[in-house]
């Protein structure tokens, strides 16, 4: 630690090692004088109060040598000993040994004057070293100390009990009779405050008990101490918030308004204006509040104006009515905090007629006030701007002035947000001169901004508002300067901003092309994307529905056939700002959404509930199978040019599988009574339960039929399927390719943040090898594996370089039961043709590893 460097401090600050050695050597001698001992302890405490600390071994040694001083019956020494002990307690674990010596001091009879001087301090020191079991053994001592007639002893016991709540709440709760007694008949005024605070903690979980306590305090006029009254007011406020209006509580509060103590009355004001809706009481509160604004004591004016500032946006009308003249006086208060709050209140409550004057006034004084209050003023003007959008010209000038001045990051960001508010208001004409000026001023800001955060925010704002401005090409020049001069974070933001100008400034295209060669990949990506995908012109009031966008993108990505045409964003549902706000509100109340995508399961494109509903409509019996866990993608069981085209998919239920066969009649003949013959070889793992039939299937039409199986575990393998139907009056069989159940039935693709770590973490390894005879290239085998295993290719390992002979595919998925599974597949293209694969599968569940390897 640095000791104070000035002469005075350097001379007086004790040296740590010297103090330690002197304490240890002197306290161990019984001959040390009490004077000397107190002086040494003072140096020790001085060190602690300067922020110095000792390692545990030294702290323990100090603690034990100090306990030797207990042999000396000297009050002046004892008081310093307790102080030193309290400082040593957090530094060592061995303090509990000091209990007995401290106990002796606490148990001294109070009759001697000496003991009255040290007993309360000894009690506080003692309680600071107790652990939970020791608290139990102190039961009798604490009870008697709480009701001690010496106010200092009683307070020491009550305050210490309060600290002990952290250590042993249950034991402390047992003392509630004594605490209650000392609250009703306190040994000193402040003891009542301590007793009431402790009593509240004992009942805080029980609103009924709390209500009883709060009401009883008034009936007999128990409270004498102003601090205790302030607590009482807070408790009333809490109950009013939780129980709603209660007939007994509001009148209690009202009485406190006119309490002779400022402490109680200020607290009542805070509470009433925060919770009370009763006009009469609020009006009375406002007149009391106004008296505080005119108080000669700065602290009372300060307390009053803070309350007003909080209340200003709730009831500007009342404030104008009761407090306006006092407020105008406070603007010039000698206390800058009070003056600034006064301005803030006036800004929040100002009428259209006074806005100009106010803005003019604050612009002038802004340079003179400290930064944290500039923030208050900026926020106030921002809320004023929301209320008076037609005054945006003055507001923008004000913000521009504030932005030019020196200021910290928080302040600058607040100003930019405020400007963004004003420019974003729909009533503002983006072609007006004042907006142009504001935009140019923002450009100046990023020219010499010391905070990249501010630059990025301003660039985004320029991108949003700038394209509509008449100065668009000037803005582009400023923005492009950032691309040339700044770090990659700012460059990326600048590129995104530039992209918005593509339609109005033709040269932007060239600028973006240059950024495609940037050294930073994020900048390159943004530039490249901007060149290919034009920024959709969406009005501010309308935005894409995020949920629908996600759903549509997922269904687009689901099958590669879609990739022949671009994703059509116009099909995505739109929603207004208001709708989105409404959706956001309940989420905001919930637990924070975990931000990591680590274990997020990729939701199937079609909502499971919808799908299940469709299934149940087709086959009512499916309703009895329970929750639909998962559905696989369809796979074809015929070639595309046959008379009958059949594809099949699997729906997985807790104890069942339902195979859905989609059949298209591609032949000029009506068929009827279509059913599916499944020739199972699964023993008991899979047993057919029922199948449906299609009564008639017209030429060139499609329909589905279903076969349900009970499953035991996670069977994988083939279902040889034969279609049976009647055509032209005769029974026909039509053999299909085997319908394969693979691991994808039980595993959902999922992404993982750190695959290698995850792979190492999961055990239960299974290995397997397989020849992919049907695959010509490694890429073929990769796409085959993806669908067969139902797992997600991690970190782009599904992209295979064209000339690669060897490739490693990493896959990750989560089973329907929530078990994670990770697979590493080494693929080798052999010279004899065909691909060989060797897989290592790790999973949290051994059966799952096995299923996945089986499904290879």
């Amino acid at each position: 630690m640095n000791m104070p460097q000035n002469d005075h401090g350097a001379l007086r600050s004790p040296d740590k090692m010297t103090v330690f050695q002197k304490c240890v050597s002197n306290f161990n001698q019984s001959t040390v004088s009490v004077d000397k001992a107190r002086a040494l302890l003072t140096d020790l405490v001085h060190l602690f109060y300067l922020g110095e600390t000792f390692p545990e071994a030294e702290a323990t040694q100090l603690f034990f040598t100090i306990t030797k001083l207990f042999q000396k019956e000297n009050v002046g020494l004892k008081q310093m000993v307790y102080l030193a002990i309290k400082e040593l307690v957090p530094l060592t674990d061995n303090v509990i040994m000091g209990t007995s010596v401290l106990m002796r001091d606490v148990q001294q009879k109070s009759s001697t004057m000496d003991s009255r001087l040290y007993k309360p301090m000894a009690l506080r020191a003692l309680c600071s070293i107790l652990d939970a079991s020791a608290v139990e053994s102190m039961d009798r001592l604490m009870r008697s100390s709480i009701v001690d007639r010496d106010g200092f002893v009683s307070s020491a016991a009550l305050v210490s009990s309060y600290h002990l709540l952290e250590i042993s709440r249950e034991t402390v709760k047992r003392w509630s009779n004594e605490v209650s007694e000392s609250m009703k008949m306190p040994a000193s005024q402040i003891a009542q405050y301590h007793a009431l605070g402790l009593l509240y903690e004992m009942r805080a979980q029980d609103n009924v008990a709390l209500l009883k306590l709060v009401v009883s305090l008034d009936e007999n006029n128990v409270l004498r101490d102003a601090n205790a009254m302030a607590l009482h007011v807070r408790y009333i406020g809490q109950l009013l918030t939780e129980l709603g209006d209660h007939p007994q509580l509001l009148p209690l509060l009202k009485v406190y308004l006119r309490n002779r103590s400022d402490i109680a009355s200020i607290e009542a004001l805070k509470t009433i204006l925060a919770v009370c809706k009763n006009e009469e009481i609020v009006a009375e509160a406002m007149s009391v509040l106004n008296a505080y604004l005119e108080s000669p004591r700065a602290i009372s004016r300060f307390a009053g104006i803070r309350i007003l500032n909080r209340y200003a946006s709730v009831r500007p009308d009342l404030i104008a009515e009761y407090c306006n003249s006092s407020l105008e006086n406070l603007i010039t208060d000698s206390n800058t905090s009070i003056a600034t709050y006064a301005i803030s209140v006036l800004l929040k409550t100002g009428s259209a007629s006074s806005v100009d004057r106010l803005i003019h006034f604050v612009t002038k004084m802004l340079t003179d006030i400290p930064e944290d209050f500039r923030l208050v003023v900026v926020d106030a003007v921002r809320s004023l701007a929301k209320r008076f959008p037609n005054k945006h010209k003055d507001m923008l000038e004000f913000f521009a002035d504030s932005l030019r001045q020196e200021g910290g990051l928080t302040l600058k960001l607040a100003i930019v947000e405020a400007i963004s508010d004003v420019l974003g208001a729909r009533s503002v004409d983006t072609l007006s001169d004042s907006v142009d000026q504001a935009l140019l001023m923002l450009c100046e800001t990023i020219e010499d901004s010391e905070y990249p955060e501010v630059t990025v925010r301003v660039l985004h704002l320029l991108g949003e508002v700038g394209p509509a401005s008449s100065n668009a090409s000037t803005l582009v020049r400023f923005i492009y300067n950032r691309v040339i001069l700044e770090n990659s974070v700012v460059r990326a933001a600048a590129v995104s901003a530039l992209a918005r100008f593509q339609d109005c400034v033709p040269d932007v295209h060239n600028l973006l092309e240059r950024s495609c060669r940037d050294v930073n990949d994020e900048v390159r990506d943004r530039a490249a994307v901007a060149l290919v995908i034009p920024v959709p012109q969406i009005s501010k009031a309308q935005q894409f529905s995020i949920a629908d966008l996600e759903k549509q993108v997922q269904s687009y990505l689901e099958s590669p056939e879609n990739f022949s045409s671009a994703f059509d964003i116009s099909k995505v549902a739109m929603q207004t700002d208001e709708e989105r706000q409404r959706q956001l509100v309940p989420e905001a109340l919930d637990e924070p959404v975990p931000s990591a995508v680590e274990e997020k399961v990729v939701v199937p494109a079609v909502d499971k509930h919808e799908l299940l509903a469709a299934l149940v409509e087709a086959v009512p019996e499916i309703a009895d199978l329970g929750e639909l866990l998962h559905s696989t993608a369809p796979s074809s069981l015929t070639d595309d040019d046959m008379e009958y085209i059949v594809s099949a998919r699997l729906h997985v239920f807790p104890q069942h599988l339902v195979a859905q066969y989609d059949i298209r009649n591609n032949f000029d003949l009506e068929i009827s009574n279509v059913s599916m013959e499944t020739d199972l070889d699964f023993e008991n793992e899979l047993v057919k339960q029922f199948g449906t039939t299609i009564p008639t299937l017209q030429p060139y039409s499609s329909d589905s039929l279903y076969v349900a199986f009970t499953r035991d575990g996670t069977p994988v393998g083939e279902i040889p399927s034969t279609m049976r139907f009647v055509a032209d009056g005769s029974d026909e069989d039509y053999a299909l390719d085997d319908f394969e159940i693979t691991a994808s039935a039980y595993v959902v693709p999922s992404s993982v943040a750190d695959f290698d770590a995850k792979f190492a973490e999961l055990d239960n390894e299974e290995t397997g090898a397989r020849q992919f005879a049907t695959c010509k290239t490694i890429a073929d085998s990769v796409s085959l594996l993806k669908t067969r295993l139902g797992m997600f290719p991690v970190s782009g390992t599904d992209i295979v370089p064209e000339d690669a002979n060897i490739h490693t595919l990493k896959l990750f998925g989560v089973s329907l039961e929530g078990d994670e599974v990770a697979a590493v597949v080494r693929l080798v293209s052999s010279s004899r043709g065909g691909i060989a694969g060797k897989a290592k599968v790790h999973s949290s569940n051994p059966d799952l590893s096995f299923t996945v390897v089986e499904g290879l």
Partner: protein, 185 residues
Amino acid sequence: MSLYAVQAVLILDSAGERVLSKYYQTPRASALATSPVAEQRSFEQKLAAKTKGVNDDVLIFDGHLVVYKQLADILVYIVAPLDENEVLIFQTLTTLRDVIDNALNHRVDKSNVLDRYDCVALAVDSVVDNGIILSNDSALTSERLTRSADEELTMPTVDFSETGFKSMFDFAKGRLAQAVRHQLV
């Protein structure tokens, strides 16, 4: 709701250097309570720079409610959570100021504080106990503090048999004055 109304008691010199600083580790502690000393000192120096020579009594500083008094060449601060009762905290500062003032025989300055650090440390401890306001009566509290190890005890005894009527009258007068003071708080 909590009794933990005080987050820190600070005594700084006019350069913002620590004379005494005590951050309390309580359930409502300021983040500073567990910060490295360097961070605490930077907070203290900024606070001193902001308050030195400005007798405003109170300000909101860095997310804290701070009340302070300048006594000659030192500044005494109490740091509290933002939602604490301003007047209550200020009253506590007044009590603390008076107890220190009594302990140093009404001659409070940096030199005396350092000379009689034991008295100042005991004064702080007697007004705030680990974040809880322990006392709001400076006169009674001062009576309980020793000023050195060998001093004669100053506490008035309630033994009227030998000291006669005058001392009994003085004692009663003192008590009455205290009672009146309490009513005015």
